[in-house]
Symmetry: C2
């Protein structure tokens, strides 16, 4: 699985703003669609995608607000992504009676298609370079805080203008550490209905042990249908299905939204990650996982309620283990040091560059030292409660929207309000039992780490016992009902101020603390790191040109590579696996979890062509967020579905090693074979293959 | 595969004589049958094998002179071993018309059973501790060389007396670095007929890449029948076949002949291995492999002729890569240093021990320094020619047998003559083409490494061009005919001296050089290392007791362990694999070599129960030479057939890591399934299962 905890990185600004690695390895790179690696493709593969080819792929690709990627795969709005990207929606739609996560789902007819409570799907329909306007906004302002404010205001203005003009979601994003700023326009879809999902066990075969490994045997797919004005979306921007699928040795492309990488971090940033951030996050994840597992042990319904959470936590823990190993690897650190030394030497060799940009590393290293003692406070002050998060959003929303756009907290800029309201109004049920579990667990850890008197914790518990207070707040709140949320939003500041809902009361107490924290972090660190990062971004262009790709930002990128095995376990991993391998691994473990077959897989054994490719690997460069990305061939046909990286890819946050780093994908032939012969979904397979 | 190049170790005496590691890990150990780990078995498994249980297993186990192990598996002398142990015989019996190595072999009726040209099978029928007599022989002799001579004479006398008395092969072996000497009595069988062998590709599925790895899918088995007086051997000492086979989690035992380990080497010895021996051997193997591969490229018949040689060389290269990695591992070296420091400190803490044994490490370290410059000379002075080896044996044989037994070169002691003559008189054809290839290649490497004027090389080529001389010698010799050899042996020294056979002439010229070398090495180093090793052996008993096992010596040992997977590739390796996995790996590589199926495997696909276990792993401690060892359960039933170790076992020459080191075996149920459904050998399967 490849869901990196993107949001954690956002908590920790220093990790995001740093220098660019000068060495591009063959097949490395998550390229923006405005700057595809045409030269490399021409050289190595004698293939140059046309603008039309690139546009079609981009417009067929989607980003899901649940944190993954996907693609349109039929003229009638069928959307393909991973089961584990759909997992959040499946969990929200399941009940004790209908456990779609465990049992899967299949809508045999259109009217059975099941509307997702809060899934938003974004298509990147336009991009525009706005670097000059953003960078000029801060020009000549000596004070860092004021300069940052001016830059933020310019960004908000660009977004609002474009949103007003086009009606499209409009995000200004920073690339190359601020070396460039781009306006990304998205068409948003929010009527997204589930068509098919396999059983969790078939999708996530091998469970946590096999997660992030290969060879694999996972049917990690889900199909939604996107609706527009109540009808299936008719579109020409969809990927033609390749029945044959990915072939060993062939060139393939991946179009998706890698979440975040830290390949351009300075060495000082990597050391903060290694020594402070990584250990703290690991501790947090372990604490949450232990709490969720203890809860799951109470019974099958409890286990169902936290199933998705346990998956996510185990996934993140495996990621952080991999990151820790990569950062403990002396060879990796030495490579990073050598790259940085080369970059600095080249800047220093030019007096003008040195004067303009040469202090950036020192500035960043100084901030990195300053933020070390801040990390625990930033990480552990949290509730992990969905209802609390909604409450705080409501409290801040009513206040923020009264301010000029440029003065607001960033979540409340005009351009993003539509998506935010869609999320806040989600009708997905929020089970009180897990709210209590998560909130108590988070506050206890905060108390342990930051002390009983911590202002954040005390703002919530007010001297009381954590369990008692949390139970009372969760039992007392009415925010589980979207109508209550709507009434508060509509009522504005007065209604929120007058509310006696205990969750709103708690959020009101936390609000000033959260604001003060944001302001302090922003004024003290972000205001310094932003211009320092921009310096490195500009210097990189001067030193190395633009034959590079920016760090991942959960925006659309193009990767490419070859379908090919790699050295593993003293031998060679195959380019693809087959259904034979699924039945081998199950039998090899005496069909015991997490290596057991589902009843449907058992029953289909003799119907299947067991030699059909099931999963495969390619050298394309991906990271968490790419889950659900389509893999296409030179003809732009869909040959696979990205769902993971191998264990050797875990260092990919920091470096790319083309000899061993592999993307793991579901094979298009395997998906069709499964739909037809395991799930009896022949008509759906026909729609994918364009046979109806 | 697990055929370590045992003979190389014998070339390098210092590697064999050293101190004993004090820490016994659970399930570690290659125990002698006189000292089985009863306490450990009782503690961990609550199982104590009876003397009868142990005797039955010992008497059912065999050692093959081709360098592997095996076991009796029917009352009518059926002997089970690996295909790769039988490989030498299959190669010798194959011709351009009948390639049994490639195509396999099956004798449907007794008269089709094919007599092996020079396979000897030994059963260990008795053992006797002779430590006192051997050690006393050298007592009080101050001169090292004289002392060694007296010790060697005592050993030869013990062997001869016993051979004369019992008619059995009688070997005195040194265990615990000379801490003990034992007389091992073997019943020899030399009428050994091939009954069944699968195709090479089925036995060695995955080829060199998969060699020394797991998961595996190899039918690495062969069946011989041992004849006695022209009739199938009737015996009660055979292992009952377990149809169910090895079960995950169960306790199993391995009875076989591990070739050599260096776990008790001093640290100084390991460093010689790491810095000098390992690199030199690797160079030698690479040189030979390149020559053999170039020859194979000339055509299919050439490829057939060197097929077995290439296998052996690739296998050895993978071993030496693994050894080099283990010795480069700082953690392993640190462990070894800590163990030695503990041992030395405990000896030093007792003034009496210190006086008696304390100088041994210093003595050995001094010799290790002295032998470093000798290594290349010892390794590269060779011809790799079978005919030359026979010629030198003939030249030395006729001279040696006239001397008193104790004065002879060790190969010609009375007790070993029967086996030696069996080997020398082998009717197996010796193809001149490969003789030329191997001999030229070896002499050219010797010339490169030791110089054109090297006395050994010049004794053979006498100033001529290597290729020309070798071609002329090989074309001119008549030694390919066993009758010619016999005539020379019968004619004695006069006949050999008068011979104008060019290979005999070359051997006559080399003989004095080989003798002088033996004497110098023996007098200078072995005479010092032998008593030093004995000191360490004795000191180890005093310090750690006898709760330890001696280093491997290609004599019968008992290992035990659990059938269980292990952490691998970021996940878990299964305890066993199935036929499903074979078909998966083949399909995954598009059926390309070395991952292709044989025609018989293709044809049997639908007949097989694909979920049948094929290979499995257990924690038992093995090393090269154990190939072909039976794996038995508590009931003493055969549940598997050892054929390899996993990649993590490659450090096993020096250390045992029970968390990851695994023995790889063919499953008894898989063998039966293959015999019945792939090879149509139902009657043979019935005989194994005791059904006829």
């Amino acid at each position: 699985m490849n869901d990196r905890p993107i949001r954690l990185a956002l908590l920790l600004p220093a990790a995001l703003l740093v220098a660019t690695a000068p060495f591009i390895h063959c097949e490395e790179g998550m390229w923006t669609f405005d700057n595809p690696p045409l030269k490399l493709l021409k050289q190595k593969y004698n293939f140059v995608p046309t603008p039309e080819w690139l546009d079609h792929l981009r417009l067929s690709s989607v980003r899901l607000n649940d944190g993954g990627s996907g693609s349109f795969v039929s003229a009638n709005g069928l959307l393909l992504t991973n089961h584990h990207v759909a997992r959040g929606q499946l969990q929200k739609e399941s009940t004790a009676e209908h456990d779609y996560l465990r049992d899967g789902f299949f809508a045999a007819t259109p009217d059975q298609e099941m509307k997702s409570p809060d899934l938003e799907v974004d298509v990147l329909v336009g991009t525009k370079n706005v670097t000059e306007r953003v960078q000029n906004a801060a020009k000549g302002i000596a004070d860092d805080t004021q300069a940052l404010k001016a830059r933020d205001a310019a960004i908000a203005a660009i977004e609002k203008e474009n949103k007003d003009k086009t009606g499209l979601r409009s995000d200004v994003i920073s690339l190359y550490q601020g070396g460039e700023y781009w306006l990304y326009e998205y068409k948003e879809y929010t009527d997204v209905r589930l068509v098919f999902a396999p059983e969790q066990q078939a999708a996530f075969y091998g469970g946590d042990p096999d997660n992030f490994t290969y060879p694999r045997y996972d049917i990690d797919m889900a199909l939604f249908r996107v609706y527009d004005n109540g009808k299936p979306l008719h579109t020409e921007n969809f990927l033609k299905w390749s029945a044959k699928g990915a072939d060993p040795g062939e060139l393939v492309f991946i179009s998706g939204n890698p979440g975040s990488t830290e390949r351009d971090d300075t060495v000082s940033g990597l050391l903060v990650e290694r020594d402070v951030v990584g250990p703290a996050v690991t501790e947090y994840l372990q604490h949450r996982l232990a709490a969720a597992q203890a809860f799951a042990a109470q019974g099958p319904e409890q286990a169902r309620l936290v199933g998705s959470t346990i998956f996510g936590l185990q996934n993140s823990l495996k990621v952080f283990e991999g990151r820790a190993e990569a950062l403990a690897d002396k060879a990796i650190l030495a490579k990073k040091q050598a790259e940085e030394a080369d970059f600095r030497a080249k800047v220093a060799a030019n007096p003008e560059w040195q004067k303009e940009y040469g202090d950036a590393w020192v500035t960043i290293a100084k901030v990195d030292e300053q933020i070390k003692p801040e990390i625990k406070g930033q990480l552990f002050r949290r509730t992990d409660s969905r209802l609390f998060s909604i409450a705080l959003d409501i409290v801040q929303y009513v206040a923020e929207i009264k301010k000029p756009d440029g003065d607001r907290l960033p979540e409340y800029h005009e351009a993003g309000l539509q998506s935010l309201r869609f999320e806040m109004m989600s009708p997905a049920p929020i089970p009180p039992a897990t709210e209590k579990l998560y909130m108590s667990s988070a506050l206890k850890l905060a108390e342990d780490e930051l002390g009983k008197d911590d202002a954040y914790v005390q703002a919530i518990v007010q001297g009381g016992d954590i369990d008692t207070v949390v139970n009372s707040i969760v039992d007392g709140t009415k925010l589980g009902d979207p109508a209550v949320r709507k009434a508060l939003l509509d009522g504005g500041e007065a209604a929120v101020a007058a509310s006696t809902d205990p969750m709103i009361e708690a959020a009101r107490r936390v609000d000033p603390i959260a604001r003060a924290n944001y302001k302090r972090i922003h004024d003290t660190y972000v205001s310094v790191l932003t211009p320092a990062g921009e310096k490195l971004g500009k210097a990189r262009f001067l030193v190395y040109g633009k034959d590079a790709y920016p760090d991942a930002t959960f925006t659309l990128r193009l990767s490419y590579g070859t379908v090919i095995g790699y050295p593993y376990n003293g031998t060679i991993a195959p380019p693809f696996t087959t259904f034979y391998g699924l039945y081998d691994r199950a039998a090899s473990f005496s069909n015991k979890p997490p290596f057991d077959l589902t009843a449907k897989e058992e029953a289909a054994r003799d119907r299947l062509d067991l030699a059909t490719p099931l999963n495969f690997v390619c050298t394309g460069d991906i990271i968490g967020g790419n889950s659900g990305s389509p893999v296409v061939n030179r003809e732009g046909e869909l040959v696979g579905l990205v769902f993971d990286g191998n264990i050797e890819s875990m260092a990919g946050d920091f470096v790319y090693d083309g000899s061993k780093n592999r993307t793991v994908a579901v094979h298009s032939a395997g998906m069709i074979e499964a739909l037809r012969k395991i799930y009896g979904a022949g008509a759906l397979a026909d729609e994918l293959e364009g046979k109806n």
